[in-house]
Symmetry: C2
Subunit: 417 residues, 2 copies
């Protein structure tokens, strides 16, 4: 139910608007320019910028600009005014990143997920907290400048309670109080988000040069999934679980999937499944271990074999490109997005192959409801994309203008205290 | 780029917030209750309600409520304070509706689309303008109380220019200046929207009893498509063309579609296609005309035949139910919606059959990223749903709080005037 707005709500909103404009300026921006950019009065800009300077979030660069009118002092974001931690919990690797206020990657670490961390959530949380401590200790960042921690996890998630619910490859974590345990172990305010959605947050936040208001992030990892930004808003869905693409049914008579249905998209594109098929065809050593850690190397060999033109390897990969192309046409038609971004841990392995084979398989026709082109690109962020997105969630929550915040918060009524 | 907020922007927003709260109250609401509901101060509520009374948008009901504190005067929406016209242009029928401020259907008319209206847009616009005139003249509504007109059209749309671009069944309308011609012919400010998206607007606006913040409207008409409300916002897409489901590829080796691809969803569910198959199987008279007008009756006979248990007719329809079930699982997994609403001109024909056969074919499994149930229902609005949605778009634009409106509008700079 929408609520009203008043001056305190507006003041907080205007601070984020000004901060966001300063963040987006490469070479700083003057107060006069901020008046033009935001529509706010010179007096309001003067008040807001004074507060932001006091809180250490922006700097006066000392650079004075000439031109018509009085000389103007330029303002820039103070990148070391605040920091955010991002953690990506994945069955294969746990990634931690530390971003500054500008979104620059200050430090990162990768913890090849030890079985203990996957089998015992308590141990997992302790390992992550230790990794976060090391990350902060290894830099000159004062801990009290770290605003918060974002943690990205495989779905299904229970966003309200901050938990995962029966994630196929991390079953021991099901219903474990993940968010609150991590908050307690690190002492940092903690937000939770689904992994593929975090990837979309990262792309939205970091790719200022080529923004799109409606795009899909195609995440190519142990499984496949999509993150969505629709009308400039990250789409989480009713329960925070949007983006499940792996069980998109693409062929009613396709192979049986572990979900009990036939013809799921993941059967056509999941690296472990392609490796399995390659082993059956004798393209890869059938006796090689295919645990989550080993699949990566085997998949690289399969792709390398396809690249050299080995017909069966090529055929396997082309079939997955066909499926991805078809999926992209479907999703573009449904959502009317104008950009598809690819990324995730397995993307760099197949990137060249896809770049060569995919465009001709994204077949739009006149009947598709599109009056614009669709841009297909690789993510500007590399393998850390999900962890970066989780950290950006913290930055976005703290600093990015969200007009819903303009509304007066409902009073919290405590009962029986 | 987000812009700032200030007092005039807030005042306009607060008016819509108060009006929306009054609209949502069945039996009226007092100023004291409005303070609690909106978070606004008593003084602000007093000022805002005075303005709304002056403009004739709300009434004091005279009903005074007791209880603790002073007696309170109840406020209600004045349903005849304003009206909106909705027009649905469809190749088969042109529907016009007149709604009052509460969204009540005051009057409607159906113009069995004459070929002239489809073949000659100029004639079509004249016919629509005449129908709108008759609709208003047939009621006691003063024309100056009609706020505006919403027009819903088949895609593809060019939302910026207010046109359709090569709509398969209305080719003569391609690139015709639809919105501005209709605005000129009726003298009413005109908004344009894609038909399936209008259906979702109608459901969002009218179904106050069972609201969902994330739902899909499955539109079963000459073609199929979906309207989407995601996170409480109607999703239009980058170009206003979201919701194209007909060319969702559901079977890579399926029958060839008019779009040049194989296995499109519409091939499995489009009434004309099912009628065609039934004719080939000898279930329907193979010599019967299958123009857009005739398909309806033939389709009704096919469904009636399936209802009586004729095996081949049943098999045809069950296959389409299978396809719809699979599509719904796909879309729910992708978007994490918690409600699917069915409607559109062909829905009432198949409603009973689907209600019996569909639930067991919407097969979610544990691996689906859902931590909630999915409600499947028929639309609360009947055959006029798209026209009603187009009219609701006018009401929503004028009266519904949209926090994006809180931001100061950029100044319009006229060049060379």
């Amino acid at each position: 139910m929408p609520r009203g707005s008043n001056l305190p709500a507006v003041a907080g909103f205007n601070e984020t608007v000004v901060l966001d404009q300063i963040r987006r300026s490469d070479d700083g921006v003057s107060r006069v320019e901020l008046v033009a950019l935001t529509g706010l009065s010179p007096q309001t800009i003067s008040n807001v910028t004074r507060k932001l300077l006091q809180r250490g979030l922006i700097n006066e660069t000392g650079k004075v600009v000439g031109g018509p009118g009085a000389p103007r002092m330029m303002l820039q974001l103070n990148p070391v005014g605040g920091f955010a931690i991002g953690v990506h919990i994945d069955p294969v690797v746990i990634t931690c990143v530390l971003l500054d206020l500008e979104g620059n990657l200050v430090a990162h670490s990768h913890l090849r997920a030890p079985s203990i961390a996957i089998e015992d959530p308590e141990e997992g949380i302790a390992a992550i907290a230790a990794a976060v401590d090391q990350l902060i200790a290894g830099t000159a960042v004062p801990r009290d400048r770290v605003i918060g921690l974002g943690v990205a996890v495989p779905g299904p998630v229970d966003a309200v309670r901050g938990r995962v619910v029966k994630p196929p490859l991390m079953l021991p974590w099901s219903e474990f109080p993940l968010r609150e345990s991590l908050e307690a172990a690190t002492g940092l305010p903690t937000l939770m988000i689904k992994d593929v959605t975090a990837a979309a947050v990262a792309e939205q936040w970091m790719n200022a040069e080529n923004p799109s208001r409606n795009f899909v992030f195609f995440y190519y990892g142990t499984g496949v999934g999509v993150g969505m930004v629709l009308n400039d808003e990250v789409h989480n869905g009713a329960s925070g679980n949007a983006g499940n693409a792996g069980h998109f049914r693409i062929a009613p008579d396709g192979p049986m999937c572990s979900c009990g249905r036939r013809g799921c998209f993941s059967q056509a594109v999941r690296p472990a499944r392609l490796v399995d098929q390659a082993q059956q065809l004798g393209l890869l050593d059938a006796t090689a271990a295919t645990d989550l850690h080993s699949v990566f190397g085997l998949f690289e060999r399969l792709v390398a074999s396809a690249e050299t033109g080995e017909p069966q390897a090529r055929q396997l990969l082309v079939a997955s490109v066909e499926a991805v192309g078809s999926f992209i046409v479907n999703v573009t038609n449904l959502l009317d997005v104008d950009r598809i971004v690819f990324g995730g841990p397995y993307w760099s392995t197949v990137e060249k192959f896809f770049q060569r084979e995919l465009p001709e398989r994204i077949r739009f026709s006149e009947i598709d409801n599109l009056s614009h082109s669709v841009n297909v690109a690789s993510s500007v962020i590399g393998e850390d994309v999900v962890a970066v997105g989780a950290a950006c969630l913290v930055l976005a929550g703290s600093f990015s203008p969200q007009s819903s915040k303009l509304q007066i918060a409902p009073a919290v009524i405590k009962v029986g205290v």
